[in-house]
């Protein structure tokens, strides 16, 4: 057992070594870290509030303060006017105020704040304007320039690209996270147990089947009103109630199965039957695969009465698990035959224990590969949807929604090129990492 673990460890190290040899993948990994950095620190990289400023002799940190302080209000005593000047960080146009000193973020604009003086597609190459502290309209200094241009409302494209990073990463990770959970669970169950690995007594089997329906009834039909009311009062509460419903479903099934144990004495009911879990999962995968997934996603998100980013991620996740499940199943079929699993069985460990402690951790390799590719395709799906104007709320700036604006405005090439490149780079990064992982984890290369 311990030797096996050692082997495993060395394989990990070996895989990492292999991965490091793959230069493009390694560069991509660094790039991904950079993207994560941008996403995490977006408010300090692109913000229309200064990082630091000195106003009327006092120091302020607007970009930080807005995050900390809910009221976003601060005040300073003006000695000349002998009055307290109250200002709200997110409403002030700091370019139009006389500041003693100021440190701007790298991109001095917010993603959704409109620059009144540079709207109607300000060209990055053309002179841009601003209003200075004296109220005059002057040429925008190079430091404050929209170097990727603006859209019709005057929203900065560079800032949109930065803040879009956050959203695309979020979409990729959350949706593939969901897909992974489902895929690993179903795939490993179906691969590990196959069609005849999981057996139970006849009565328990049939009671279990009935339990699925009865449990569904108590979890969702009887509780339909409770569910609706809790979703009405808030998303969090709704999810909590949904969770309780799922729990009820699960408990009812368990209850029915346990109830079946009482009948074990009757030999007719105690005949061993197998649960064709592999067949069930494979059919589910086939059905989902024969659906046009992109159309399915568009349909569901168009039918929703309100646009929501979170719902979109859940939909992408719920429809994207088949690949992972298939890989996991294949991996389980392979691992099942391994000596250490057989040994575990011989030692009398329970199936569940073997599955969760040994089989799944060892079979995760291909899932990582699939995860990386899946994130890329999830990002592509999200940007495609935003490009069509479906699914993402209107006040969120994403790469796809910027491209959508650009598609209608041919002259504003900057609305097409920069977000398009951002999507391209991100997808390439994930694909290269996936590629690198695949090569590194390929069992054929293990020799």
């Amino acid at each position: 057992m311990s030797e096996n673990l050692n082997n495993d460890f060395s394989f990990k190290a070996f895989a990492w070594l292999q991965f490091k040899k793959n230069k493009p993948a390694l560069v991509s990994l660094y790039l991904l870290m950079f993207l994560v950095f941008i996403a995490l620190f977006a408010p300090f990289i692109a913000n229309n509030q200064p990082l630091y400023m000195k106003y009327k002799g006092e120091s302020f940190y607007p970009a930080f303060s807005t995050l900390m302080n809910e009221s976003k209000v601060d005040s300073v005593y003006d000695e000349q006017a002998e009055a307290q000047i109250v200002f709200q960080y997110d409403l002030m146009d700091w370019r139009a105020v006389e500041l003693n000193a100021v440190v701007w973020p790298l991109i001095p604009y917010g993603a959704s704040t409109a620059d009144k003086y540079n709207r109607d597609y300000a060209d990055p190459g053309v002179e841009q304007r601003m209003r200075n502290s004296k109220g005059e309209i002057v040429k925008l200094p190079g430091r404050l320039k929209h170097f990727m241009g603006t859209d019709k409302l005057g929203r900065d494209v560079a800032s949109g690209v930065i803040h879009g990073t956050k959203i695309s990463l979020l979409v990729g990770l959350v949706s593939m996270g969901i897909a992974c959970l489902i895929g690993i669970l179903l795939g490993s169950l179906s691969g590990f147990f196959g069609n005849d690995g999981l057996s139970t007594s006849r009565i328990q089997y049939w009671l279990g089947v009935i339990g699925v329906f009865i449990g569904y009834f108590y979890a969702f039909i009887s509780r339909s009103l409770t569910l609706k009311e809790s979703f009405d009062s808030g998303l969090l509460e709704g999810v909590f109630t949904l969770f309780i419903s799922l729990l009820i479903w699960f408990l009812v099934i368990i209850g029915f199965v346990q109830f079946g144990k009482l009948f074990k004495k009757i030999s007719f009911l105690n005949v061993e039957v197998t649960i064709p879990i592999d067949a069930i999962v494979s059919r589910a995968i086939e059905v989902l695969n024969s659906l046009p997934i992109f159309i399915l996603i568009i349909t569901i998100s168009a039918l929703l009465s309100e646009k929501s980013l979170w719902v979109l991620m859940v939909i992408i996740g719920l429809t994207g698990w088949t690949g992972i499940a298939r890989l996991m199943r294949a991996e389980m079929l392979r691992i099942k035959q391994m000596e250490y699993i057989q040994a575990g069985k011989a030692l009398g460990l329970s199936n569940m224990r073997i599955l969760t402690k040994h089989a799944i951790p060892n079979g995760l390799g291909p899932v990582f590969v699939s995860f990386a590719f899946g994130v890329a395709s999830a990002i592509l799906t999200e940007s495609g949807l935003s490009f069509l104007g479906i699914g993402v709320p209107d006040d969120i700036v994403t790469w796809g929604s910027m491209l959508n604006l650009g598609k209608n405005e041919f002259e504003a090439w900057w609305l097409v090129i920069y977000p398009g490149l951002a999507i391209f780079v991100t997808i390439t990064v994930y694909n290269l990492i996936g590629e690198g992982l695949r090569d590194a984890l390929d069992p054929k290369l293990k020799k």
Binding site: Y218, I295, I300, L403, T428
Partner: protein, 477 residues
């Protein structure tokens, strides 16, 4: 199976299609049309769409539930009633209460005010009071939360008391309140916890959709009748028949082209594995693979169909009606010459990503095959390198590519929504997009069904191709 799934999705859409159809006039005619949709109109539309029937052969419900809920006119009322049942469990009482509210609503909307008692009230108060009564009673049909119901009750009784000119609704109001009290007193919540199977028989939406019904003028899907589109009343089947050929041709051409390029490329770079050509082409192919196609399509349109740059290709569509002659046969040279330019840009943007994908697969499988023992044997036999690669290796390395061919048919429907939208290509992709945004449910369901059928067809074709390519596989036993 798939059609059932699509059916389930469409049934759960929050938009009431009746509402959608009834209100459709609001857009253009606006102020001119007397657009308040009457109950009668709603009833007619419901019947026409077949929504006055149960959804499926059976449904799992609670014992307390009403089994003919679908007969109620408005979706919001149906929802409210089912929530009501969840709350109190006593359908009989709830039904009585519902009808008493309806009676009151009807009474208030046609009520005549007693003009002799109007003195002392401004005309504004009078008109407001009347409207308030009407809406309160109407909104009672849509709420079930006891606090809200009580609020409405209080306001109705208070107004009824305060304004002497409101006459003739006392009996209705008291009837309604006593009916509600009866609902509260005779709670039968236990009924909500007994599961029941409601059987609806063959007269249901799904059955009629699938098998048709003489009386309702529906042929059913089995006879090729997918119903009529909600948005323009055209037969869905006819509509799809007009759109499908374009998408199919586009996909077939693109697959053909991508195989044409990717197979030689994949073979060559596998052959030259590790050399400069291989690494350069791999990088290019990889970049192409990661380029989002809608981005490329937009750029292509901007570069090659724009008079400011290059005006090589048309902007969109598939033909120019001012040049096109409808007497041309589709296979005639004139027609092909006319329509070909319209396909170029869509074809490029459609092909490049699939081409990069296939060539990567081709390269991979070729490398695998070249490692095999029998290739070494062949080489050892002294066969020329060309013969080894092209004759022995190629055939075997084609297998993974053939698997991909199974996806051609479903891709003819769903593969190109965004691209067809960008190039205003009149194929299935843009058709389904329009259907989805206008919530044209028969069309959506039909597309899902068709995709399922085509997927199966694709598998079949792939199997046949397997036999052709790989002599080892045989279905004869």
């Amino acid at each position: 199976m798939i059609s059932l799934l699509a059916f389930v999705i469409s049934i759960n859409s929050p938009t009431d299609p009746v509402e959608n159809l009834v209100n459709a006039s609001g857009s253009e005619a606006g102020m001119n049309a007397e657009s308040s949709a009457s109950e009668e109109l709603r009833r007619q539309v419901r019947k026409k769409l077949g929504l006055d029937l149960p959804v499926f052969y059976f449904n799992v419900a609670a014992y307390a539930d009403c089994d003919t809920l679908y007969k109620f006119q408005e979706k919001s009322h149906q929802e409210n009633l089912s929530e009501f049942v969840r709350r109190y469990g006593n359908w009989d009482y709830i039904e009585t209460y519902y009808h008493s509210v309806r009676k009151l609503a009807k009474r208030t909307s046609s009520m005549t005010l007693d003009s002799s008692k109007m003195t002392g009230f401004s005309s504004k108060t009078i008109s407001n009071a009347r409207n308030e009564m009407m809406l309160s009673s109407l909104s009672l049909l849509e709420i079930n939360n006891p606090t809200y119901v009580q609020v409405k009750f209080d306001s109705i009784t208070a107004q009824n008391k305060r304004y002497p000119f409101i006459i003739g609704i006392d009996t209705e109001v008291s009837e309604m309140i006593s009916a509600y009290d009866a609902v509260l007193e005779n709670k039968q919540n236990w009924k909500n916890y007994i599961p029941a199977l409601q059987l609806n028989g063959a007269l249901n939406q799904y059955h009629i959709w699938l098998f048709g019904n003489e009386a309702r003028n529906r042929g059913g899907v089995v006879r090729g009748d997918f119903g009529k589109s909600y948005s323009d009343n055209e037969e869905v089947g006819t509509k799809m028949l007009k759109m499908f050929p374009y998408s199919f041709i586009l996909v077939m051409l693109s697959i053909f082209l991508s195989y044409l390029i990717s197979i030689p490329l994949g073979v060559y770079s596998a052959y030259k594995k590790g050399k400069l050509f291989d690494s350069v082409s791999s990088v290019i192919v990889f970049m192409l693979y990661s380029l989002p196609s809608f981005f490329v399509a937009t750029l292509l349109l901007y570069r090659f169909a724009n008079p400011d740059h290059l005006m090589w290709f048309p902007v969109g569509g598939v033909k120019d009606p001012s040049v096109f002659n409808s007497e041309w046969a589709w296979y005639s040279f004139a027609n092909i010459k006319h329509q070909a330019p319209y396909f170029v840009l869509p074809l490029i943007s459609f092909t490049y990503s699939s081409f990069s994908f296939t060539s990567r697969i081709m390269r991979g499988s070729m490398i695998d095959v070249l490692d095999q023992d029998y290739i070494r044997t062949a080489r050892a036999k002294g066969l020329s390198e060309k013969k080894v690669v092209l004759k022995h290796a190629l055939r075997n390395s084609l297998l993974p590519i053939i698997t991909m061919f199974a996806n051609v048919f479903p891709a003819a429907i769903g593969g190109s929504v965004i691209l067809e939208y960008i190039f205003s290509f009149p194929g299935m992709g843009s058709g389904i997009l329009v259907a989805i945004t206008s919530i044209d449910i028969p069309m959506i369901v039909a597309v899902f069904t068709l995709t399922g059928v085509l997927t199966v067809t694709g598998y079949l074709v792939a199997d046949i191709l397997y036999v052709l390519v790989d002599p080892r596989i045989s279905y004869k036993k």
